[in-house]
Subunit: 302 residues, 2 copies
């Protein structure tokens, strides 16, 4: 995991995506990642006084350059609480300082966003949206960021206008790993036809999908239901509910999906079935472009 690199002298800052479960680090030379590291040292498993040692260990061998971090590291239960900015607001990063340059490095955390009515919050995704605008400066439309808590954000004239979160990823994980349906789903892929049918059903008649959940278990018991079909049905039902509730966020809109490739493909298939073509952007590209913008901000204000 920890390795020396001949180009280590090129490193002029460190980008950190520090979430609830994982810490992802990139040693950066300008906008170019020179080295990547990933550790299971997320905010959820670290008491406040363990963030500095965790960062020191994770960046061993890298020079004492500034660290720019986004994500749950800035939560109340994180390292240093980074206050939420209220939307609507310009899509530019706001940084707070971790006092005392831990490990001899200046450390800055990007502030998350809040929305008061209806209440909503994000930490980490705002940096990916900043990155989307850095890579596509004229973008005007919807950023869809599928994940544990999927976000739909409206971006216009360089501002983040409003946003909406859904628990789809977390619910899929809980149901597929811990409910009685864990015996039905297996760990493989989702059948595309079953996904499409369940999606369409859940969008047209959301309550019908709710009634169909236990049926997945019963069909496994009685008819040896194919696990890929079961997985497609659960995934299609949850994403179908989300799309039904998020209709104002995609109907007639330009949508860019920023997420893991498999999950992004499911969202793209779901939107395509509604006649909405979506562009795809990698999470790493968006995150690094957003953190690079935050690093520029850091340079101009220090």
């Amino acid at each position: 995991m920890i390795e020396r690199d001949p180009f280590v002298t090129d490193i002029d800052w460190i980008a950190a995506d520090w979430g609830t479960t994982n810490l992802r680090l990139w040693a950066m030379s300008g906008r170019r990642p020179v080295q990547r590291r990933a550790l299971e040292r997320g905010m959820g498993s670290l008491p406040p006084d363990q963030f500095a040692p965790a960062l020191a260990e994770a960046t061993e061998g890298w020079p004492a350059v500034p660290v720019i971090a986004s994500g749950m590291v800035g939560a109340r239960q994180g390292w240093v609480e980074a206050p939420y900015l209220s939307v609507p607001c310009p899509a530019t990063p706001h940084l707070i300082e971790v006092p005392g340059d831990p490990g001899g490095r200046p450390v800055r955390i990007v502030c998350g966003l809040r929305q008061d009515n209806p209440a909503d919050v994000m930490r980490g995704e705002e940096t990916q949206i900043v990155g989307l605008l850095a890579l596509s400066p004229d973008f005007d439309g919807i950023a869809c960021l599928p994940g544990t808590h999927t976000k739909w954000a409206r971006v216009s004239a360089g501002e983040i206008c409003n946003f909406k979160s859904f628990m789809t990823g977390e619910l899929f994980s809980l149901i597929s790993h811990q409910s009685v349906l864990r015996h039905s789903l297996g760990g493989g892929y989702a059948d595309a036809t079953a996904f499409g049918a369940a999606l369409s059903d859940a969008m047209a008649r959301p309550e019908r999908g709710y009634g169909a959940l236990f049926q997945i278990r019963a069909e496994t018991l009685l008819n040896d239901l194919d696990p890929a079909v079961a997985r497609g049905r659960l995934s299609g039902t949850l994403i179908g509910w989300e799309l039904a509730a998020a209709r104002p966020w995609w109907l007639g809109c330009e949508v860019t999906i920023i997420g893991a490739p498999d999950l992004s493909a499911l969202y793209a298939q779901a939107l395509a079935a509604q006649g909405v073509p979506a562009a795809l952007m990698s999470v790493e590209d968006a995150t690094l472009a957003g953190l690079a913008a935050a690093h520029q901000q850091f340079l101009t204000t220090t």
Copy 2:
């Protein structure tokens, strides 16, 4: 837990509700329970060869009388697989024998029910429905059995016609204990006004309730949402989805709810809001009446 009783000689059979998590036992004198015992020795934690020792331990001090058991003890992963009967079928218990009179006691397991289209299964609730008919021989209507996997069953002319299962209890438990909403809900009661409003919303526009789940978390973070209101909203949303999907099972029907008191009260409140008055029956009364009918069946066939 294990205690001697002066009336132990009156015991002529043992009733057992043996589910996934718990084993509940009643030493019976005819239709009257003489002693009760409850142990966390459910089917889910016992390999097949441990059922006999678990029963021997749990019934220590009771005479060597027949044991009549219902529930997941008859599942494929249970003690002895009791085949499903297909609905429609008469609401009379069918028993299979555990070979070899373990512990010197004849042991019988009540068969569960299956439905082929749409696929559905039950194990344990069929005995409560038999009990409902034993206690109300003229019952013609819907039995609603809220729990981990809530069942709605249509009973007419002494037959169980068809049924429908929902994962409401299991989803509530997973979301309230293991999702990000665990920080919002606390362990207390559900606010009745919040429950009613979320129920009404979820029934009218199910997708809106889906979008409101993460909002519970955000309102906790931003506005210190009252945990009782949060709990009422989650409960109302899930039961609202269930009622929307189960509409043919209660609209214009006579409904009897057989469940734990708090949960039954929520279902009764929800049905009353739709103009459907529901009768309540205790799970213990229904289970014991059903197992007593099964015991009669055992006596007449041996």
